[in-house]
């Protein structure tokens, strides 16, 4: 699979944030992007369409990023999708929670396109190397 063609789902309840991430992804070379405004809307989308990568916010009203992550990992069809968690603070306890739930990596707001690309590349590399 060619990295740049990868279909990415951005999950965030704040549309400005989704737009910012979408732009950063574009700058990093990824333009095949779709959005969901909550974990609860992301899940059916993930099940009905094909996505190669998930970038999700942690804090969302209906279904948090962590719960989405758990649901994805528990789903046979989705569990292999790389999951990048966006958090506001690098709080250790959160990171441990996310790691235990099977997060691929996390990224702390605010971040630049370069950092984002680096994170994505690392995740993809790890996958390829497995």
């Amino acid at each position: 699979m060619l990295d740049q063609k990868m279909r990415i789902l951005i999950v965030d309840d704040f549309s400005t944030m989704r737009r910012i991430i979408r732009n950063l992804l574009k700058e990093a070379g990824y333009s095949n992007v779709d959005e969901a405004d909550d974990g609860a809307t992301a899940l059916p989308k993930l099940k009905s369409e094909k996505f190669d990568f998930i970038i999700s916010d942690w804090n969302m009203p209906l279904m948090s990023g962590l719960d989405l992550l758990k649901a994805v990992r528990a789903d046979a069809g989705l569990k292999g999708i790389p999951f990048l968690m966006v958090t506001a603070e690098a709080v250790q306890e959160n990171i441990i929670q996310a790691a235990q739930a099977g997060v691929s990596s996390y990224i702390v707001k605010p971040f630049t396109a370069a950092t984002l690309k680096e994170k994505i590349d690392k995740i993809i590399d790890k996958l390829g190397g497995r």
Binding site: T16, N23, M60, M63, A88, Q97, F111
Partner: protein, 583 residues
Amino acid sequence: MAEDIAPKDEMDDIVHDFIVETTEILDGLDQRFVELEKTPESRELLNAIFRSVHTIKGAAGFLGFRQVVDVAHTAEGVLNRLRQATLTVTPSIMDALLKAVDMLKLLLSHVKAKDGKEEDISVIMALLNEAQTNQPSTTANQTASTALEPRSAAESKAEAKTANQPSLTANQPSSTASQPSSTVKEDAETIRVDIKRLDSVLNMVGELVLGKNRLARLGALLEERYGEDDLVGDLMETASHLNLITTDLHLAVMKTRMQPIGKVFGRFPRMVRDLARERGKEITLVLNGEETEVDKTVIEEIGDPLVHLVRNAVDHGIDTPEERASAGKLRAGTLTLSAYHKGNNIFISIEDDGRGMNTGRIREKALEKGVASKEELDRMSEREILNFIFLPGFSTASVVTNVSGRGVGMDVVKTNITKLNGSIEIDTVLGRGTVITLRLPLTLAIIQAIIVRVHGEAYALPLASVVEIIRISESEIQTVEGREVIYSRGTVYPLRRLANLLNAAGGAGERSYAVLITLGEKTVALLVDELLGREEMVIKSTGEYLSDMNMKGVSGATITGDGGVVFILDVIGLFTGMKGAPA
């Protein structure tokens, strides 16, 4: 960093989105905070508030709005401790948080104005930090928090950022964070459209309505002349179909411009809370019908008058807890704001169970100010006397506070409501309370009107203010105390001749029509020569030239079905601009 995330154009768009979205969040926050003060134990509410502030902080970080990030971050620290119950909701903490919201609004206004200005945020930061440290010892018995108390208190004496870092780690139970699904409204699929586009669509629909009217008129003429021709029948059928579709289209377009009145009501919980605290009153605010939808223009124009009426109710209407107690009322007064639809109007009422208005005082004041003589006052009904408060400079407030009672206000409220083609009514019982009811049309751009003729000139009267039309002859007009009146079904109505009001020459014909018009709580008969019919009209402003001439009594113009230009009369302006107007 702000430049890193997107090209310039895109960046402007993102900032614009950020402003719109953040403004919505902040407006909602005021209300949620006031709710929180009432139900401080509501975890769902706290989580929702925390998340809102957190969201703003996250996006602001990307956009490089450092001060927004700082304030949001520190407020978030306080909220997080409330969430973990290591801090309890007190009025002073609420004050600090509400001030933080105010500061965020102010900072956002700088973002919006692109003035690059910074604010002195040290005061609010100190206030927020203090809110975290100066927790009274009553919280010590909070379950599970006792262990945390000394530690976080000690740490928060240090710098703000480090102070709330540990509490963030303390427990961020994902289960509670994701619970409040029930309170959060499901977002329907929506699309943001620039209001200018909607305005231009509405304008085009207006033109379409004019074209439709013209077509209907031409069709009717053709039918008269060539009624036997099948083609004319087909044309009429098509025209009537077009008529239906145009009406539906108009409704549909109007709906896109409708917004819930809750948008305006949303600011009141906070305002009433602050005012009540300031004035030492206890007030329960009840909001009804927040989902009632009104045209955007009405939403924009109704805000200031409502703020004034609510301020008045808090300041003069609701009595102090002591006064209330001695009058045998509950210490806390109730202020109820309601909105509902009835016919083609929306009604908004502001009801308080306070002191009520003293018509005696208003009478005295009217005498003192010389706006009416004792004889005139004696003849007036309660209602008419109450209407004096709408006169410029008329205020009965004995104490001039910084809230209201400065003699400006009610007249401005009245003017604004009238401008919207609405009316205002007061019901009051001394010692029991006051209800002020505003009636506003649902839409402003297109109205139903009847067309009348006076001395060969056609004029339009908004149907909303017309009660009844009576056919009368000159001989039925009687004179009482030098004023012309007519009798209809046992009621006497003062009569005004439209021709005189418009300074048109000539006398009335043998047979005329009296159009009964409501002016607030009064009904007046307007004498016209002829009735031409009823039509859906698109109000066009009269343009600079004519508005410069300051034509009282004319609110706009329109093009009728026969292609003629007709002035739309502003009934209230028409009467208030005249001598001997019904006061």
